[in-house]
């Protein structure tokens, strides 16, 4: 899927960005297929926004090429590229009406007035604000403003849609609503889309593929499930979702953690003796546990953090010698009358352990 895919709509090869001595981006190779929705995900400062701005021509890469629809756009100024862009700040022109904002790119193309009006009406309907044309941006909510910014970016039917943290300025409810809308809209129009975000939930729920970035480099590219279940590096495992990190050693095809010898299927046990074991809280289960199951051990509840239907429970385990964090359902906890101090049996699913060299 990476780099050399000849069917890629957008292709980045060997892209680097230096700010003085600082390497903001290192050897970025990535292909984005036509109509694909790709998220750049990473902590702040990882270079994801810089990469987006390089694709937009708002920054110039220090090395490497960018090809879009078979055309080398590496050296083209923004105005000669083909994309629409939406920023976190909306960047709507405050002194122009919503209609004029959406029509901003159309007017320049000298289209007849009636055609412009029809196109604007169509776009406003598309983003669910058919009657907003006469209003000014300041009269709209944040979410509505971002919908208008989206309409403005799509007005000229660009081949590529760039979204720079479009949901970060919105409140939680609006954010969830708009993220579904954007995804539906993107699928309906089939426009190739790249979104930058630091919010893993956003990336996991919206993207066809996620590009996890760290310190200017790509850590992993994959679907949401791949990223979550099979993180390619400790960083990805840590950054996406919650994870327990345990220290252990490889022994006879199994894993020794403290006094326990764990079975581990499916994952390749590295050669080195000491390893780091990454384990999601939901992969340590309290039921079902059948008699004779492997990887079962006793635990004592230390702390329960209430999160809603699930609780984040911190348990101490004598046999592992290290505390663990697990998700237990609220129902399970009340059924079993579990509270801090209670004891219970837990099982680590043998096919869910991810191992990395220590």
């Amino acid at each position: 899927m990476n780099g050399k895919n000849s069917r890629s709509y957008l292709e980045l090869s060997g892209v680097e960005k230096k700010f003085g001595a600082f390497n903001a981006l290192r050897d970025i190779n990535l292909g984005v297929a036509q109509s694909e929705f790709v998220c750049f995900l990473g902590p702040s400062g990882c270079g994801k926004t810089t990469l987006l701005r390089i694709i937009a021509g708002l920054e110039v890469q220090s090395a490497g090429t960018v090809r879009q629809a078979g055309r080398d756009i590496s050296r083209l100024p923004p105005a000669q590229r083909d994309y629409g862009i939406v920023f976190q700040s909306y960047a709507l022109f405050p002194n122009l009406s919503v209609f004029d904002n959406v029509a901003y790119g159309l007017v320049n193309r000298r289209a007849p007035r009636a055609a412009i009006a029809a196109r604007v009406a169509e776009l406003l309907k598309l983003v669910g604000l058919p009657d907003a044309g006469a209003k000014y941006p300041s009269q709209l909510s944040g979410g509505q403003q971002q919908r208008i910014a989206l309409a403005r970016a799509l007005a000229t039917s660009p081949g590529l849609l760039l979204l720079d943290e479009p949901l970060s300025a919105l409140d939680a409810l609006e954010r969830v609503r708009l993220r579904q809308e954007i995804r539906l809209l993107q699928q309906r129009l089939g426009v190739t889309t790249i979104m930058v975000t630091h919010d893993q939930e956003e990336a996991l729920s919206m993207a066809d593929r996620i590009v996890v970035m760290n310190q200017g480099a790509i850590e992993q590219v994959g679907s949401a499930l791949e990223i979550y279940r099979e993180p390619a590096s400790p960083f990805v495992a840590d950054f996406v979702g919650k994870v327990n990190v345990l220290a252990g050693t490889a022994e006879n095809g199994g894993l020794r953690i403290g006094a326990a010898l764990l079975e581990c299927n499916g994952t390749h046990v590295p050669k080195s003796l000491s390893v780091k074991i990454y384990l999601r809280p939901e992969d340590i289960v309290a039921r079902p546990i059948a008699p004779g199951d492997s990887n079962v051990f006793d635990a004592r509840i230390e702390k329960i953090e209430f999160l809603g239907s699930y609780c984040l429970v911190r348990v101490a385990t004598d046999v592992l010698g290290q505390p663990l964090t697990v998700y237990l359902s609220l129902n399970f906890l009340s059924e079993q009358a579990l509270a801090p101090g209670s004891r219970l049996k837990l099982r680590i699913l043998p096919d869910r352990l991810r191992l990395f060299d220590a």
């Binding site: 862009i85 790119g105 000014y136 970016a153």
Partner: protein, 566 residues
Amino acid sequence: MPEIAVAIRQRTDPADRIGHAGLLVVFVLLMAFLAAPLAAVLMQSVEDRNGRFVALDNFVAYLQTPALVHSLWNSIWVSAVVTLLTIPAAFLFAYALTRSCMPLKGVFRTIALTPLLAPSLLAAISFIYWFGNQGVLKDAMQALGIASIYGAAGIIVSEMFAVFPHALMILITALTLADARLYEAADALGTGAARKFFTITLPGAKYGLISAALVTFTLVITDFGIPKVIGGNFDVLATDIFKLVIGQQDFQRGAVVAVILLAPALITFFVDRLIQRKQTSMLTARAVPYSPRRSPGFDVAMTAYCALIAALMLAVFGMALYASFVKFWPYDLSFSLRHYAFGLVDAEVDTAFFNSLKLALGTAIGGTVLVFVGAYLLEKTRGVEWLRPGMQLLALVPMAVPGLVLGLGYIFFFNSPGNPLNGLYHTMTLLVLCTIVHFYTTGHLTAVTALKSLDAEFEAVSASLKVPFYRTFLRVTLPICTPTLLDISRYFFINAMTTISAVVFLYSPDTKVASIAILNLDEAGEPGPAAAMAVLIAATSLAACVVYLGLGWLVERKTQKWRNLK
């Protein structure tokens, strides 16, 4: 194989070339009308009469001339005294305006700012009427032990009046930037009023106080009008420059004095830059603005103090106004318009007044266009990166250059026969350019602040929509910024009306302006017409303020309606 680093350069969009050309034009203008004249001053100060390089010989010769060193000392101590007297007075006034619940705040503030409307020497003329040889209160003054107003005493009181509003504005800003939460925390801990003042208020206003003190010192030491009118035989640096250059044609030593005058301005400039960075970081976005609470005793005391200062200011202004309408001071105090008639007609001051209007209008229009276009291209466009650091510096330099030094640079640079721009010398065009450059920085910073408050991505969005930058400038940036444009323009207009220091070197009989005419009338022993002219300038500035207020109202209705929608 070693890696060969070839910088990738983006191609330039044809539309962007227009922006680059514009930036280059502003840059060249600032080089020709700011950098080159300044370089000429520096060159003169290290050359002898024949243009040979003599290193610091001129400075050594200067320090060996007792009379000149005496002026240096005079300048320093007078400026220091004015600073020490004005800052506490202005601080208390600003404190009353921001931290008390006294009535008539707007009135007091307006009165305290009126000196900005007139040339600084209006105060000197007025004090001569109060305490001069034929002054109303001369005997009272002498009873206090001051023999004569002509000299240090006159300079000090006049400068205090003239610089008060400058210090006041800085201090009001500093005291407005208070975080109410600090005071609430102090109250919760049962802190006394005095302790709160010394542990919260004063440290909070520290940077403002330093900045105000430096600005005051610099304004006084570089002021020319007041010591010229009321200084008598008390020589200061500013009057020395004029005597050396215009009187004795001693350009070298004039340049040396100019370089010396540059020093306090430069120090002020750098300290101010440093402070501004600290001051902005002090007030976080979460700060809660302070609002004063009623406290009868304190409020009455503050009202009394402000009323006293306002009364003194009105007394200064009022005396000039009164004297301009008096028939023959001090013998016939009946009402007459003869000073206006004489001043305007007989002394050919009508041309001077119209020249002032031309200068003010030219500066207000040309300066605003140049400053705003320059700031916009600098802040909001991309490309020609090599030009930008230099542009940024040039835009800030005028703040650090006293008008006298700039004017002197213009003589050296434009009056030299080899200069192709020599034809500009003595023309109104050059006066306008000089005044624009002189007041460039404040305008520039105002424009930059307004531009920075706009979304940084407007230009990126426009480019992605393939709309050239100038369309977005005209359709979005300019309409949003019109109130700021008016502010900048008014600033230019009033300063052009009242300025003396730079233009005093540059005018010809045809291009003499009103503020210079006051100097000449005063020198010719015509204080009445001089006062009339000063009043006329103040009245014009006031009228301009009213016009700008009206324009602001119109603009608000036409281009800013989106701001107040619900």
